[in-house]
């Protein structure tokens, strides 16, 4: 199709890939942190809450810079991961995933936490008296009831992953095929003389994709809500 060039299609595919993986990987950690903040009391709880929300309040470029310092090839975490597991983030799509995931994490945690707080702990108690251990209580009672919140968190993370710019470009720069997601491609096109039309086309496509994801999540949420009748 001539509507977009090959580079632009690459950006689209990369964006989808980055957004998907950011959502998939941050989901378990997001649920765990949300549960800890909602249900447990422990020293440093407020600190954890603030830490989770940092990407919301800091300029994205600062977050990207911190990621670069920590997860770059010279950074403590990045060097360790590369030596032990052969995993690199610097200048690779994995870094774009990390940037998107970190920036979206506050949204994921907030959405899931709100729905956990809406679950009556007495139901969890009842499940325990019926023989379910803590893990099974979570799996059979809590998890199904917080599904709407999880879906909301996933959609927000996916949308953020599709739209993340500042942290991504600061952390992993603009590399076609590896880190040039749709926002980075649009930005580059806007800075190139005569690139506005192509930028507009990419922007429209990205809006359509986001709208599609939103519609899917609304449909899923409604189906899940129907199954759970308020007792």
């Amino acid at each position: 199709m001539d509507w977009l060039t090959a580079t632009e299609w690459t950006a689209v595919r990369l964006s989808l890939r980055v957004a998907f993986w950011a959502t998939f990987v941050s989901l378990p950690l997001g649920i765990f942190v949300a549960y800890a903040l909602a249900r447990w009391r422990f020293p440093g709880r407020q600190m954890l809450n603030i830490l989770v929300h940092l990407p919301l309040i800091m300029p994205p470029v600062v977050t990207g810079y911190l990621l670069l310092l920590a997860f770059g090839t010279q950074g403590p975490v990045g060097a360790f991961l590369e030596a032990q597991f052969g995993v690199t983030f610097a200048f690779r799509w994995t870094g774009a995933v990390l940037a998107a995931g970190v920036m979206a994490f506050p949204f994921m945690v907030r959405a899931v936490r709100l729905s956990i707080e809406a679950v009556d702990p007495k139901l969890e108690q009842a499940a325990a008296t019926l023989g379910a251990s803590r893990v099974w209580v979570f799996a059979t009672v809590t998890l199904p009831l917080i599904l709407p919140g999880i879906i909301a968190g996933m959609v927000l993370t996916f949308a953020k992953g599709m739209g993340e710019f500042g942290a991504t470009i600061t952390f992993v720069s603009n590399i076609p095929g590896q880190t040039q997601t749709i926002p980075l491609a649009i930005d580059l096109l806007l800075e190139t003389p005569g690139g506005e039309t192509r930028a507009a086309r990419l922007a429209i496509l990205s809006i359509v994709l986001a709208a599609g994801a939103l519609a899917l999540s609304e449909w899923l949420s409604r189906r899940v809500a129907d199954k759970v009748a308020r007792a």
Binding site: L68, L69, G72, T73, Q74, A90, F91, F165, G166, I169, T170, S173, N174, I175, I186, D187, L188, L190, E191, T192, P193, E196, T197, A199, A200, R201, A203
Partner: protein
């Protein structure tokens, strides 16, 4: 064009989000300057405010971003670009104050490294840049949009080195970001202005690109039409004063004689 309204809106939205913050409208004059002038402009600002009492706000970013903002109506009084191309674009759009454009500075592009090799490198078509990189990244400003990147790519192409290193190139939003990558050691090598290399002592200049390998690097300056013309004129005059020239020279710029 049908999509021009959309692209204008996008331009504004991106300019606001991604460009350097536009200074408050209460300040006397606003200067948009290429980010490679960051260190120099600090001195210039101090000198100008001391001498004239005007209050100066400086917005530093990639010349491409700044030019776009001015095209969309950003309230700059003076623009200093890192290449003539963007100034030409503004001139063609009729956005410059008449008879205020002049060539202010020159610069060189250099190859920098995080860890200096034992001997300096001669940058010729025989240079095996790809093996020098040894799998590491070459940090450059965006080669399609930002002047430092455009010059860098032009030079590499002229020396027939571009194709061998293109896969290793990491493009950043402006030249200072490329400098930062090399300073951190994330990219072992980079191409920046000589003035940038001088500004950060965590990088070493490994070699200078021959001046004939790329179009001459010229920093034009001009007043913007509709800006504060009295104060803008004062500033432009100041830019050509001995005090300002000395400041630029200290940073490593070549000052273009009148």
């Amino acid at each position: 064009m049908g999509s021009s309204l959309l692209s204008r809106c996008l331009g504004w939205a991106l300019a606001i989000s991604f460009g350097s913050p536009i200074a408050g409208f209460a300040d006397d004059i606003t200067v948009f300057a290429a980010s490679s002038m960051t260190n120099a402009m600090a001195e210039i600002e101090q000198g100008f405010e001391d001498e004239t009492g005007h209050d100066l706000s400086v917005s530093l970013a990639g010349s491409s971003a700044l030019a776009r903002q001015i095209q969309q109506g950003a309230p700059a009084d003076v623009f200093i670009s890192a290449n003539p191309g963007w100034m030409d674009a503004l001139e063609a759009d009729g956005l410059l104050a008449p008879d205020t454009r002049f060539d202010l500075l020159g610069n060189r592009i250099v190859l920098i490294a995080h860890d200096a090799p034992a001997q300096p490198v001669k940058i010729t078509p025989d240079l095996d840049l790809a093996s020098l990189l040894a799998g590491g990244k070459l940090a450059m400003a965006s080669v399609d949009a930002v002047p430092a990147g455009i010059y860098g790519k032009a030079a590499l192409e002229h020396l027939d080195l571009w194709n061998s290193v293109a896969p290793q190139v990491v493009q950043t939003k402006n030249v200072r970001a490329a400098l930062a990558l090399v300073a951190l050691g994330e990219a072992p090598f980079g191409i920046v202005y000589a003035t940038d290399a001088a500004a950060d002592d965590r990088v070493r200049v490994v070699g200078e690109f021959p001046q004939d390998s790329h179009p001459p690097i010229v920093y034009p300056a001009a007043g913007i039409a509709g800006g504060d013309s009295k104060a803008a004129t004062d500033f432009i005059t100041f830019l050509q004063s001995p005090k300002a020239r000395a400041a630029f020279a200290r940073q490593g710029f070549a000052v273009i004689a009148d």
